[in-house]
Symmetry: C2
């Protein structure tokens, strides 16, 4: 039951990202979310900062963003849940270039006042530590 | 109570990393762990693969590895827990160069047969997507 609700929330999130619906996207996050996002800084805290991060993502793409959540795994008990997936993001950048990226997504949820909210997320690609390069061409 | 146990497990993990105690490190992981690790691939599954990843890390450093877990946040209920922290790793590489790195660490635990084990982890640094660079010089 909790798992079905969380899966629905994540499906809604992907749709909201696709249509750049900022309020739809933000409805997933707790006000005090601690985020380890794909780009710097190392960490940030709070939904206001998360909103800004999404607004920057939306501005970086000229049209809709294709956002697919693949291999979603959901573990839940009581009022906690954690999920992970590999997400495929592609679209046309404002520069006109096509972007096609697979990222790793982990999100930790709490049920707060009856609704499931993300209190912590972690989004990344692997890196080649030796050469300081991001691994942007991996596929699931 | 669960939180104190998990904090102790993580303290033990940091000590085991420091002394390159592979069995101590591996005692934290569930056999079917799904790992989003700092370097490629995008994802891997299983404790055998995790053991190999740690053996490669240990071989990359010529001496002990200083591993500090900073700002550890633990959330637990029943038989689930999730934790996150920013970890400071430094030491001398086999090449003779000094390495000093801050990474983001998220770990999801389940209590399995009475013991807390990591069933999913996510370790990363942020990246500059535009230039394809890993952000290796950030500090918490």
């Amino acid at each position: 039951m909790a798992e079905a609700l969380i899966r629905q929330r994540i499906e809604d999130l992907a749709k909201a990202i696709h249509t750049k619906d900022i309020n739809g996207v933000m409805s997933l996050y707790a006000s005090d979310i601690v985020s380890f996002d794909i780009d710097p800084p190392l960490r940030y805290i709070g939904a206001d900062r998360k909103r800004r991060a999404w607004q920057e993502v939306f501005a970086a793409y000229s049209g809709p963003i294709a956002y697919e959540v693949r291999d979603l795994n959901v573990t839940t008990q009581g009022e906690l849940a954690f999920v992970h997936s590999v997400n495929h993001v592609h679209g046309t950048l404002a520069s006109g270039h096509a972007s096609d990226l697979w990222l790793r997504w982990t999100a930790c949820f709490r049920r707060i006042e009856g609704g499931w909210l993300i209190v912590h997320d972690h989004v990344s690609v692997p890196v080649d530590l030796k050469h300081g390069q991001a691994a942007l061409n991996l596929k699931a």
